[in-house]
């Protein structure tokens, strides 16, 4: 069509520059510096072109620049596929398209590129501020589209119209967001750069590794309990189990699950909860001990650790049931017990000697050895601290007998070591302990500084028994929180500190908002969609019923909006409406009002017209007709219509029998 060939006006060029800026500024942290600079130059050139009304650069130059930009992106990332290179390329195209605004269709293409870049922002962050910024970009870009179609209105008017149209689009967005059948991505392989390093527990534990986590108040996961929150001392969130020891660090041996359902008896009262796990890049899923159900797409390792089939790269939510009183592994396989007894050939002679002594004293009585070990930890008056001294080669000896200062990993490692040296199978369990309930939304928030390590010992007839050696020496770590257990004066992460209550309160509120956003906006996935629709009464929602519901509801909104948009504001004069009622009743009696007939003429004709001689008419019928017509004529054609006249007319017509 001829319209798409119209040249781009100056005003339109300014608009396009504005939306390009709005779309690309938030991306500055994501794209290479040279590209920021180059795009900035292109934007400045665009401004100059518009300001001075210079000629556009020749097309061959733009083609060269596109090639140069693409090569630049390739050299930067060694690929042009994937998230960051893709965004960088889009910025190149957008910047150069601004220098090629020849016709109206170039303007449309530029605006569409801006919408694409909004999606680009979401690839990196989806927080509430990002969403607000994106909304701003969308309003400006839509105003640009409006200006591309008609550039005469004042910019403020364009922005207002853009906002109005987007506001009208909101109900559609909401319905589609809720009801559009969701597909769990990815649809095709994701480039590796989608994921960046995240903090959390790793699959090995060496001295200092958990102490390092204790400096972070990043959130590990959030939990919503179906019933009451269990006591703090029961909140052991089982993470990677580490039976292998090389003399310095403990290590996970089972990366894949063997059970598809839990292999132990469910006894006692279960605890039900929903856990929202922040991405940590590992396979394991945290669960309250002992996990009673398995999240979808996961299995259980032989040491009762739920693992997902794929590494947790996205925020993940699953419902769980825990059996706090259950005991696992009563008939544990010999190979696992053997693994739980292995110690390096030498090292830590003092600990080994004590272990050997207990073995000689109690024989196979594991329970007695366990009691002896707990007693030893109690007697040694060990100190729980974030800053233990450096330990030598015989770490366990150093910790138990010399420095007597350590963090939870020292406690756990020493406890397992001493049990193993006495011939009792034992292993280290890493995970999180405790958590803090956010009073604003009732979620239990578990942060990285809640990371913990404890132990499990195998006792014949009872299976694996949890012992937390830290609790022996520093019970407040378990009963209240880690800040209470650490000696005063040690550096704690901000949120773990007890002071600054109002800041904490503020942070709690912000966190509740973020959590709501994560749960209901970002975490609205196929599962949550099904749950929501099921709770709304849609039985077994599938894509068919969702599409049907979506069409019906969108159709309803469309109708409402159409009625509102096409509403006819020409209201019928109430006097005319009353007159029409009157003439309609007269028409039933065989005398129809002709549209060109004056009301008084009609009254004359009607008053003298009595087709049905047999029928009896009200005695004052002719008078009433004349009166009604007179009133109506005065209201319609007379000067300054009177409200009492209108009332009278309505009353007369209501009382009239034709």
């Amino acid at each position: 069509m001829a319209r798409s060939n119209r040249p781009v006006s100056r005003r339109q060029a300014w608009w396009l520059l504005a939306s390009a800026l709005a779309a690309s500024l938030p991306l500055i942290p994501q794209i290479p510096t040279w590209l920021v600079f180059a795009a900035g130059c292109a934007f400045a050139l665009r401004a100059a072109l518009t300001w001075r009304q210079w000629h556009l650069p020749p097309r061959w130059l733009l083609v060269l620049l596109v090639i140069a930009g693409t090569v630049g992106v390739f050299l930067q990332y060694r690929t042009i596929m994937g998230r960051t290179p893709g965004i960088a390329l889009l910025v190149v195209f957008l910047a150069l398209k601004l220098l090629e605004l020849r016709a109206a269709r170039d303007a449309v293409a530029t605006a569409l590129l801006c919408y694409f870049l909004v999606l680009g922002q979401f690839l990196f962050t989806q927080t509430i501020p990002t969403a607000l910024l994106a909304a701003l970009t969308i309003v400006v870009t839509t105003a640009t589209l409006l200006a591309a179609a008609d550039d005469r209105p004042h910019p403020q008017l364009q922005l207002r119209r853009s906002g109005l149209m987007l506001a009208q689009a909101l109900p559609f967005m909401l319905l589609m967001f809720l009801l559009f059948p969701r597909v769990e991505g990815p649809l095709w392989g994701l480039p590796q750069d989608r994921f960046s390093a995240v903090s959390g527990l790793s699959d090995s534990m060496s001295p200092g590794s958990i102490a390092q986590l204790s400096q972070s108040d990043a959130i590990a996961f959030r939990v919503q309990f179906k019933g009451d929150v269990p006591p703090q001392s029961q909140l052991y969130w089982r993470g990677p189990v580490m039976p292998a020891f090389d003399g310095r660090s403990w290590r996970v041996t089972k990366k894949r699950g063997t059970y598809s359902k839990v292999p132990y008896k469910e006894i006692g009262t279960p605890v039900d909860y929903e856990l929202t796990l922040e991405p940590h890049g590992q396979f394991w899923l945290f669960a309250l001990e002992l996990p009673g159900t398995l999240p979808p797409e996961s299995s259980l390792t032989s040491d009762y650790q739920p693992v997902a089939r794929q590494a947790v790269r996205n925020r993940m939510r699953y419902t769980q049931r825990a059996w706090p009183d259950a005991s696992a592994g009563i008939d544990e396989s010999p190979s696992i017990l053997e693994e739980a007894l292995a110690l390096p050939a030498n090292g830590n002679p003092r600990t080994r000697a004590i272990g050997a002594g207990w073995r000689a004293q109690h024989g196979d009585d594991s329970a007695a050895i366990l009691a002896a070990a707990e007693n030893l930890f109690l007697q040694q008056l060990l100190i729980y601290t974030l800053n233990p001294p450096l330990m030598g080669a015989d770490m366990v000896d150093d910790f138990l007998f010399d420095s007597k200062r350590g963090f939870c990993e020292h406690f756990a490692a020493a406890f397992v070591y001493v049990l193993r040296s006495a011939g009792v199978p034992a292993r280290v369990v890493a995970g999180y302990q405790g958590g803090e309930v956010n009073p604003v939304d009732g979620y239990l928030v578990v942060r990285q500084y809640d990371a913990h390590a404890w132990t499990e010992a195998w006792i014949a007839g009872r299976g694996w028994v949890r012992i937390d050696p830290t609790a022996i020496s520093a019970p407040s770590r378990i009963n209240s929180n880690f800040a209470a257990a650490v000696p005063a004066g040690e550096t704690l992460p901000f949120l773990a500190r007890g002071d600054l209550a109002w800041l904490k309160e503020l942070r709690n509120r912000l966190d509740a908002v973020t959590n709501g956003w994560n749960q209901w906006v970002l975490g609205y996935n196929p599962q949550r969609q099904r749950d929501l629709l099921a709770s709304l009464g849609l039985k077994e929602p599938d894509w068919r019923s969702m599409t049907a519901a979506l069409s019906v509801l969108c159709g309803g909104v469309l109708l409402g909006l159409t009625a509102w948009i096409l509403r006819n504001r020409l209201r019928v004069d109430p006097a005319l409406a009353a007159w029409r009622r009157f003439t309609a009743r007269m028409a039933k009696r065989g005398i129809a009002w002709r549209p060109w007939e004056g009301p008084l003429d009609f009254a004359e004709r009607a008053a003298t017209y009595a087709p049905d001689r047999a029928a009896t008419y009200a005695p004052d019928r002719a008078g009433s007709i004349r009166e009604i017509a007179g009133l109506y004529a005065r209201l319609r054609y007379g000067p300054a219509p009177d409200a009492t006249d209108l009332k009278l007319l309505k009353a007369k017509i209501a009382a009239f029998t034709p």
Binding site: R105, L145, L166, V521
Partner: protein, 326 residues
């Protein structure tokens, strides 16, 4: 082949779309069911872009990406409504149409009335392949859209089918409608470029007109008309009454010198269109000279007279000669 098929399908659609037999009764109101809406090329590009954004949002599990797509899809739906509203219930009435000569541009004035208390923006009216006329209409107001069409043949030229379209506000969708208002333009024959001299009846009459126009008997005054020769203006009478109208002196001599524009007086070698063309030229020449003239056509006879009414009657007779549509 393909093109002709396309145009035939288009023609069938238009005929179905119009439904009533043209021309239509005035005023033509573009009610809901005669306004059509389809995406423009920009709209298709927009839809395609949304598709790609949706794929990206699905692939990367971006909830906000979904929200973006759905918001923009909603915007598309809203754009349809706004565009539709911009056109629907527009009322079109035929306006004036000044007669033209063949080969000139006929200008059909259509009165567009906006009964809504909101403005209508960027409505385009056009005929087949002509350039569109773009108009805005203020709230509850009327405006005139001049539609120009080349007048090829003399006679009545009905206004061709009008397409009224708009892509406002976003340019993503196009709403359009068709109308054939009851409006005709009278097209006069094209005046001959070269024509024989005016056909005076007899030598003496012609001579006296040439030399002694001023010597004829003065017969009275009448209001000055544009076509009256300046030398016939009664300057003295004008000077007497300062603010009065210009007056023209009438001479009784004109009645004796009859100028008959006669179809039969033209050579037999001319066909009827050529004759009409020459007669038109004569008529215009005689009128601009302020002469009274009569017209004889095989079926029509106009008594000699001068002035615009005479000219209009003469030209009209020529335009409609032999068409039976008189």
């Amino acid at each position: 082949m393909l093109l002709s098929l396309r145009s035939r399908i288009h023609e069938t659609f238009v005929r179905w779309a119009l439904r009533v037999r043209p021309p239509e009764m005035a005023p033509i109101v573009l009610v809901q069911r005669r306004v059509y809406v389809l995406p423009t090329r920009a709209g298709l590009a927009y839809a395609a872009a949304l598709g790609v954004i949706l794929l990206g949002a699905m692939n990367y599990n971006l909830s906000l990406g979904h929200a973006l797509v759905f918001l923009l899809a909603g915007l598309g739906i809203v754009a349809i409504l706004h565009t539709f509203r911009n056109l629907v219930m527009l009322s079109i009435s035929p306006g004036r149409c000044t007669p033209v000569f063949a080969d000139d541009l006929a200008q059909f004035n259509l009165v567009l009335e906006n009964q809504r208390p909101d403005a209508r923006t960027s409505l385009r009216l056009f005929v087949a392949d002509e350039d569109p006329v773009e108009v805005d209409i203020a709230p509850s107001a009327k405006t005139i859209a001049p539609i120009k069409v080349a007048a090829r043949r003399r006679g009545w030229l009905p206004i061709p089918r009008i397409t009224i379209e708009t892509t406002w506000p976003l340019g993503l969708v196009r709403a359009w409608s068709y109308a054939v208002p009851d409006l005709n333009c009278l097209v006069y024959p094209k005046p001959a470029a070269k024509a024989p001299p005016l056909p005076w009846q007899g030598e003496s009459a012609r001579g006296s007109t040439r030399d002694g126009r001023g010597t004829d008997d003065f017969s009275g005054l009448r209001a000055h008309q544009v076509a009256d020769p300046p030398r016939h203006v009664a300057w003295k009478a004008v000077a007497r009454q300062q603010d009065g109208p210009l007056l023209t002196k009438l001479f009784s001599g004109a009645t004796t010198q009859e100028l008959w524009l006669d179809w039969d007086a033209l050579p037999n070698s001319m066909d009827s269109e050529q004759r009409l063309s020459v007669l038109t030229r004569w008529m215009l020449d005689a009128d601009s000279a302020g002469l009274a003239w009569g017209l004889r056509l095989p079926s029509i006879r106009l008594e000699p007279d001068n002035g615009p009414a005479q000219l209009a009657a003469g030209l009209r007779a020529m335009a409609l000669y032999g068409n039976g549509a008189q």
